[in-house]
Symmetry: C2
Subunit: 311 residues, 2 copies
C-alpha cells in the first residue's frame, strides 16, 4: 500500500461518493484525508435528526455499512420502525435499530447544544474512523425539490416518491445564511489535492458548492481540483443524476456535468467509455483524464483512488 502524505480533501454525498472514499481511505494515510459531506439531505423524522450522507460515509469507512444497499448498518433489524408504524408514524424512510442509535445520539447531543460537526467528529471517532468527516455546514440547509407535484424535501422526492416526480427546480433552503462548518474552507485551502467524488452534481455536490465561500475557495484551487464524473455512458453510476440533468435542461452526459464544474475544476475525470467527450471537456478550460470510474469491487475503488493520487 502506498501511503500518500500530502493532505487530501474530498467533497461528496452518500453512496456514490463512499465507493471512492473507501478506496482513498485504504490506499492513503487516512489521517491526512478530510471529507466534506453534503448535509442538504438531512431531515427531521420522528423528532430525530437524520443525516443520511454523513452516516453513509461514516458507516462505510467504519466497515459496518450494509454492503448490498450501500447505506444503513450491516445486518441491522427494523423492529423499532415497525412499531413506529403501529403508532401511525411514517415508515417510508428506512431506519434500522442500530442506525436509530446514531440518530438518537446525534439528536440528544444537538439538544445539549453540540454542533453537527462536533457530533460528526464524536461519532466517527466512536466508530473507529481515522479520517476527519466534516458536514458542509452546521446550519440546516434542506434540499427542496420543486417538481410537477409541488415542492418537497429531497428525501420525500427520492425515497417516498422514488424520484418519480419531474424536477423543475432545486433549492437549498437557508443556504444564503449558512456558514461553512469549522474546517471546511481550511481543508480546501490547505489540501494538496481536492477531489470531487462521483456524486449527484445537483443534490450531493450542489449543496456543498452553495454554502457561501465554498465554490469561491474551490475556484482559487482550480489547478488542484479533480472531479470524478458521476455519469458514465450517459447513465448515473448511482441514483437519479441522469434523469435530473435531463429534466433540468442539461445534457445527461459527462460533458453536461463538466459544464457545471468547469469554473472550479482543474481536471475532469471520465470513464474510458466517454473518451470521445474529452476534447469538448478540455475546451471548457479543464484537463480531461480518462480512468475507469465504475467501482463495483474493492479493487476497483482502490485502483481509482490510487490513480487519482498519482495523476
Amino acid at each position: 500500500m502506498s501511503l500518500n502524505k500530502q493532505k487530501i480533501t474530498a467533497l461528496g454525498g452518500g453512496v456514490g461518493a463512499s465507493k471512492l472514499l473507501l478506496g482513498l481511505y485504504e490506499v492513503m494515510d487516512p489521517a491526512v484525508l478530510t471529507i466534506i459531506v453534503n448535509t442538504g439531505d438531512d431531515i427531521m423524522l420522528h423528532g430525530l435528526k437524520i443525516c443520511p450522507d454523513l452516516d453513509i460515509v461514516t458507516y462505510t469507512l467504519a466497515g459496518i455499512v450494509d454492503p448490498a444497499k450501500g447505506w444503513g448498518i450491516r445486518e441491522d433489524t427494523f423492529h423499532a420502525l415497525k412499531k413506529l408504524a403501529v403508532y401511525g408514524r411514517a415508515d417510508w424512510f428506512n431506519l434500522g435499530d442500530q442506525d436509530l442509535a446514531t440518530h438518537i445520539h446525534r439528536s440528544a447531543l444537538l439538544e445539549e447544544g453540540k454542533t453537527l460537526s462536533e457530533i460528526a467528529e464524536s461519532i466517527r471517532t466512536a466508530l473507529g474512523v481515522k479520517t476527519r468527516i466534516l458536514p458542509m455546514s452546521d446550519n440546516p440547509v434542506p434540499t427542496i425539490i420543486e417538481s410537477n407535484e409541488g415542492a418537497m424535501h429531497f428525501q420525500k422526492y427520492l425515497v417516498k416518491r422514488r424520484a418519480e416526480p419531474v424536477v423543475v427546480g432545486i433549492r437549498f433552503a437557508g443556504v444564503e445564511q449558512a456558514q461553512p462548518a469549522p474546517g471546511v474552507l481550511e481543508a480546501i485551502r490547505e489540501a494538496g489535492r481536492i477531489f470531487i467524488c462521483p456524486s449527484n452534481p445537483f443534490i450531493s455536490i450542489g449543496p456543498i458548492l452553495a454554502v457561501p465561500g465554498v465554490r469561491q475557495q474551490l475556484r482559487s484551487r482550480k489547478r488542484d481540483v479533480f472531479a470524478v464524473c458521476p455519469i458514465v455512458g450517459g447513465k448515473s453510476l448511482k441514483g437519479p443524476s441522469d434523469k435530473m440533468l435531463a429534466q433540468l435542461g442539461y445534457e445527461a452526459t459527462a460533458l453536461g456535468v463538466a459544464k457545471l464544474y468547469a469554473d472550479f475544476t482543474g481536471t475532469f475525470v471520465i470513464d474510458p467509455v466517454d473518451r470521445r467527450q474529452a476534447r469538448a471537456i478540455e475546451e471548457l478550460g479543464m484537463k480531461a483524464a480518462i480512468l475507469p470510474t465504475v467501482m463495483k469491487t474493492r479493487a476497483q475503488k482502490r485502483k481509482l483512488a490510487q490513480a487519482l493520487l498519482e495523476l
Copy 2:
C-alpha cells in the same frame, strides 16, 4: 365473565399494579375502567421521554408485555441500546428496540406540543387497549431519592444502583406546582369504587397522592376507596417497598402501609397471612378485608379483581 358496569378507577405504579389491573381488565367492562398512573418514575434518557409505569400498564393491558420481567415488550431486542453504548451513552436503563419506538413517538409528540395525557391516550389506542390510562399529571414530577449516597433520580436509585443506597427521604420535584392531568379528579369523583393497587406506597402511590387535589379528592370518597396492601408477611410483593418502609422509620408490615393510607381508605385489603393485623388496621378507622393478594397466575389476578368488585 361478569361484566361490571359501574365505573371503576384504579391508581397504581408499574409491575405490581399491572397484575391487579390485568385482572380487572379481564373481569369487568374495560370501557368503564380508568387507570391513573404514577409518572414520578419518568426520566429523560438519550433525549427521549421515558415513562416506565405508563408503558408497563399499557403494554400489560395490550398483551405485549414481557411476561418474565413484567416490563418491556415481549421478545424485544436490544440492538439500538448496544449501539448507544458504543457512542458512550449510559446503558444501565434497558431500552428494547420496540420499546424505543414508544419513547421516540412520545418524545416527538411532546416536541409538537401534545400533552402527556393526549399522548398516553394515543398510544393505548394504537395498541388496542380499551381502558383509559391517565398519567397522574401532564407536568414532570420526578421522584428524587435522598440517600446516604446523595440525591438521585428514582430510576438511578432503583435500576442503576439496584436500590442499594439507604433512603433517608423522598421528594417529588415540582409537585406543588403540578396539576392533576385532565380527567384525574373527575375519575376519582365519579367512580363507583376506587382501587389503590398493590404498588410501592412511597414511590408509586406516593407521587399520585402528592399531586395537588388528589389526596383530598380521595378523602372525600373514603368509603369507596379500597387499597390492596403491597406488603404480604412483612415482604414486598414486588420491589423495595419493605426496605424503604424500614429505612424511612415505618413498620414494614401491612399495618405500616395501612397507617399511610388511613386518611383516605375505606377498606384495606390484606392477605390471609396478615390476618392478625386486621384488628389494628380497623382501629385506624378502616375496614380490613382479607383476600389472597399474591397474584402469580392469571387466575389469581382475575380472582382478586373479581373479589374486589364484589366486596
